[in-house]
């Protein structure tokens, strides 16, 4: 029972004197209670200890620990395994490539996509995102892709983006995910999808629309409170007038990014103290992007955010500084920043992170070798419904700040986790099935099966109390029912929610 609950029950007051007393003790309890909201602070311990640095790295670089990844990490060593994942192009990912090949629309042009049913396009994007997270050997690449899709959030349903999303993912996010940040920033700006999402396609000389200009500085580059003013926002908006996308009705539209000179404000501007002389045309926007890409505030903001995603919720300033310095020294080389991030501090000092629902679902499917049936011509699936029910289906977050990565945003909704695990292991998700005999690898007795679950899901680190529950659920003579229930409970275990 929580302190606060106890406090609440304690106040069954009998008389006024006790009421007065209770107010005092309530105050004490209250402040104790509020400060014990350590529950909300980042450095929450998970139930199980972290056994090794390699284990930490597998947890951080992937969408869920597997025996195969641990073996690879132990074979290559900490630094070798890090370098392996920092060079995704060198990883043979043929199996996953074959799975993704059926999603043919990921390769289409904007124009072709706009002539086609968007529901199928969106389904292909979402399903392929799940498939890649589960099956790709380029796990760090996929995690970095997820990081940038949160950072440069685009809501899929807005405007023309339900048609164009494959282009955004392919030509902006995936193309530059492990390149340099200034290149990624510039590509995101020169994207029809971003122009539509943040309304810059409507921003014209004399009537600039501030939406994109503000988020470009606040969310995409420098970060809020880093020194730009409302005046800077308005000047950046002027620099970006005429940036939009080629579209219209009753004419051939490419739906590609387009700069329209007649809509551009060609007067002189001042951005963050830099004079941008009159007549700059398209270069005004490019100048802004290069100022922002090289700005120390951008380096610090992106580095902190990267550390929060990949190291811990509340990364030490020394780590943020180290990654920031790498950004500044390498012109925002994302691989170099990640290398610094993972090689500066002792992994034992990193706090634990709560898997967000997407991460948890994918990790459960990885650990159980779930087989996802592709449905490239469909418009939805039972598996997608699971992500929806947890409020974490890819690309559905409306505001431009992206899905949150905070404990308090996700910790309360444990039922969605339990229900995914129960549905998956009970074979209620018809397009995501576990081959349970294959998973068990011949284990038949109560103890063997529990050990197998411990090994495949937890790497042998399952806490005793949790394992006792699994043993108890399996019963002395395990059968299909008790095995499926036990597997669902193993995935639901509290220690499996952290990484």
């Amino acid at each position: 029972m929580s302190l606060l609950k106890r406090l609440a029950q304690q106040v069954g007051l009998r008389d006024e004197a006790r009421a007065a007393e209770a107010v005092l003790s309530r105050r004490k309890l209250l402040f104790g209670g509020l400060s014990s909201l350590a529950a909300l602070s980042p450095s929450v311990a998970r139930a199980a200890p972290r056994p090794s640095a390699n284990r930490f790295l597998v947890d951080r670089l992937t969408f869920g620990w597997t025996e195969a990844e641990q073996l690879l990490a132990d074979t290559l060593g900490y630094h070798g395994y890090l370098e392996y994942h920092l060079n995704p192009a060198a990883i043979n990912d043929a199996d996953c490539d074959a799975r993704v090949a059926v999603y043919n629309r990921l390769n289409w042009s904007s124009n072709g996509l706009y002539d086609s049913l968007p529901q199928i396009t969106m389904n292909q994007v979402i399903e392929s995102t799940i498939v890649r997270a589960v099956y790709s050997k380029r796990q760090l690449f996929e995690r970095v892709v997820e990081f940038w899709t949160d950072h440069f959030n685009i809501e899929m349903m807005k405007s023309f983006n339900q048609w164009l999303f494959p282009v955004w993912m392919r030509d902006v996010i995936r193309m530059h995910a492990m390149g340099t940040f200034p290149q990624l920033l510039a590509a995101s700006a020169q994207s029809a999808t971003m122009m539509f999402y943040l309304d810059n396609d409507t921003s014209v000389v004399g009537h600039p629309n501030e939406n994109y200009a503000r988020e470009l500085m606040e969310l995409h580059s420098m970060g809020v409170g880093s020194g730009y003013s409302q005046q800077d926002v308005e000047e950046v908006a002027r620099c970006l007038t005429g940036w939009g996308a080629h579209h219209g009705f009753g004419e051939a539209s490419t739906f590609e990014f387009e700069y329209e000179p007649n809509k551009h404000d060609n007067g002189p501007k001042v951005v963050l103290g830099t004079n941008i002389p009159a007549g700059g045309g398209f270069n005004d926007g490019l100048t802004v992007l290069s100022i922002l890409g090289a700005h120390p505030a951008t380096a610090a903001f992106i580095s902190r955010k990267m550390c929060q995603r990949f190291w811990s919720y509340d990364p030490p300033q020394a780590l943020v500084d180290a990654v920031t310095n790498t950004y500044l020294a390498t012109n925002g080389d994302i691989k170099a920043m990640l290398r610094t991030l993972f090689t500066t501090l002792d992994p034992d000092t990193a706090g634990n992170k709560l898997k967000r629902p997407f991460h948890f679902f994918v990790s459960a499917m990885r650990a159980t070798k779930t087989e996802i049936a592709a449905n490239p011509t469909g418009t939805g699936s039972p598996l997608r419904d699971q992500f929806k029910a947890a409020g974490h289906e890819p690309f559905q977050w409306g505001p431009p700040d992206g899905y949150p990565d905070r404990v308090d945003a996700w910790a309360d909704a444990v039922l969605a986790r339990w229900n995914f695990a129960a549905s998956l292991t009970n074979h209620n998700i018809s397009n995501a099935l576990i081959n349970i005999p294959a998973f068990l690898q011949g284990a038949t007795t109560q103890q063997q099966i529990a050990d197998r679950m411990d090994q495949a899901i937890f790497g042998g680190t399952m806490p005793t109390e949790e394992k006792a529950v699994i043993l108890n659920t399996l019963g002395a003579s395990p059968n299909n029912r008790t095995i499926q229930d036990a597997l669902g409970l193993a995935l639901s275990a509290p220690s499996y929610q952290w990484y």
Partner: protein
């Protein structure tokens, strides 16, 4: 309906007495129950039962210049040549519904007129968070935490309210709920709080025959883990059982209320069912996304009109539902992180602004008016030359509600480093009590007469008492029109 009615009071009284007995474990006490019992937790201005508070956040900066349009300010029309609600006398099909001769609602919000006419609906204009950020995310965070001088803030104002007051129903595992996938920051820090997107499907899936055993197994595992998951799991388990006792699908609203068929309408209807089940839910958080209309704002028949139509229809249904018959005491606060730019932009939309309006709805709210200190919309009257200035801090409104309607006087904890000014958002709960003895009896007759004849003399003779307690009909004046109501109160009619 008379404002002096107290919805659901008797039930709360009963609940409190029953729970008192449960806690004391002594049935014999029943005969000598102290009369003050249900008031033990209550602040002075509170009358007999706490409101259930529904906090609705319009994410993205809703345009108060549309939903509470200042048609009396000519500068409004100068700044908004195409995106303004026409004057009530314009003959335009979109002409404003006149609220007070200066402000008006767009006509599609007409379902709210009964609540306004009844005095239950209040607008607070030129109101907001005085932080100067025009960032949605910064502004929302500051507004919801309501602790701007603390950079390490992690709890919301409503969370702190609940954490600093005892449960209305002791042991209730669901004091607060967000009809969302996660708790909004407003509610973070609340004990016994959960995000539940759909109340009627809150149960454990998987093989039906083993649900009980699997729930027991989950309890064992989560009891052994640290917070936050431990508490989340315990609350979840208790709430599964609790919600199973409520028929959400078959819920029939009262008062001929018809909720809109929309996510918001569905959330509100389910919230009404939850409140009326009397499990003791105290706070409900609802988010409505999508108010950031930089382009094609559509205040007449576009996106903004659709969203406001939904909002008005939902609030009106909720008001009718909870007010009808043996209703419940409730207060709804509707807010948004900031307002929108006074002047429209070139995309038929508006950019980020500053001051905004709040909507407050409740059966103890001093409504039927627009509360404001209007700063004017001329460029030189605007904040930074651009936006509606803020003359009322949103915390003034919330603090008064927390103290007077939620019976929590810990304002220093809930709104740290802030001294609120109470602006008459809540109705006095002491109508007719002119000698301030906590009741309305023949002893109040002399005070009533004095207040009626000579307010200054009344103040002199009754320091600390509010002469407006003689304003029985709540029209803002103490006059002959209050006599009949006062007499009825004395006679207990």
């Amino acid at each position: 309906m008379s404002k002096s009615e107290c919805h659901g009071c008797s039930e709360y009284l009963e609940l409190s007495r029953r729970q008192f007995l449960g806690v004391s474990g002594a049935g014999v006490v029943a005969a000598s129950l102290p009369a003050w019992l249900p008031r033990v937790a209550l602040a002075g201005e509170f009358c007999s039962s706490r409101d259930v508070i529904v906090s609705i956040f319009l994410r993205g900066a809703a345009d108060a210049m549309t939903f509470c349009a200042p048609f009396g300010d000519d500068a409004y029309y100068d700044a908004r040549p195409t995106l303004s609600i026409p004057r009530p006398d314009s003959g335009h099909p979109m002409a404003a519904l006149d609220l007070d001769g200066f402000f008006g609602m767009p006509p599609y919000m007409s379902p709210l007129m009964p609540a306004y006419a009844n005095g239950d609906l209040l607008f607070v204009h030129a109101c907001g968070s005085t932080d100067t950020s025009r960032s949605h995310f910064d502004a929302m965070k500051l507004m919801e935490f309501a602790d701007p001088t603390n950079p390490g803030a992690v709890t919301g104002w409503l969370g702190r309210h609940l954490a600093s007051t005892m449960a209305v129903v002791p042991g209730n595992p669901l004091r607060a709920v967000a009809t969302e996938f996660g708790l909004m920051r407003t509610l973070v820090g609340a004990p016994d709080a959960l995000p539940i997107p759909r109340f009627e499907t809150f149960n454990l899936l998987g093989y039906p025959g083993t649900v009980a055993a699997r729930r027991q197994a989950l309890t064992s595992m989560y009891n052994a883990t640290p917070d936050p998951l431990r508490t989340a799991a315990q609350t979840t388990q208790a709430v599964i059982d609790l919600l199973a006792t409520i028929d959400f699908i078959g819920y029939q609203p009262a008062g001929s209320a018809v909720y809109p068929v929309s996510p918001f309408g569905t959330s509100l209807k389910a919230s009404a069912a939850l409140i009326k089940s009397d499990i003791g839910v105290e706070a409900i958080g609802i988010d409505i996304e999508g108010w950031d209309h930089h382009i094609d704002m559509g205040p007449f028949d576009g996106i903004l009109a659709q969203k406001l139509t939904d909002l008005a229809a939902g609030l009106a249904a909720f008001h009718a539902d909870l007010s009808a018959g043996n209703g419940r005491n409730f207060v709804v606060v509707v807010m948004s992180e900031f307002g929108r730019r006074v002047a429209e932009n070139g995309s038929d939309g508006t950019d980020h602004g500053h001051g905004n309006a709040m909507i407050v709805l409740g059966n103890r709210i001093a409504g039927g008016r627009v509360l404001t200190q209007w700063p004017g919309l001329q460029p030189e009257q605007r904040f930074e030359g651009r936006d509606l200035a803020i003359t009322i801090d949103y915390r003034d409104v919330l603090a008064e509600i927390v103290q007077n309607r939620l019976a929590n006087g810990n304002l220093g904890l809930i709104f740290p480093n802030f001294t609120p000014t109470f602006r008459g958002v809540t109705e006095s709960c002491s109508k007719g009590d002119l000698n301030c003895d906590g009741g309305v009896t023949p002893d109040d007759v002399p005070g009533f007469a004095t207040a009626l004849m000579d307010e200054a003399a009344y103040r002199g003779a009754n320091p600390g008492c509010d002469p407006l307690n003689a304003d029985i009909n709540g029209d803002g004046a103490i006059d002959g029109r209050d006599i009949q109501g006062f007499t009825q109160q004395i006679l207990g009619e």
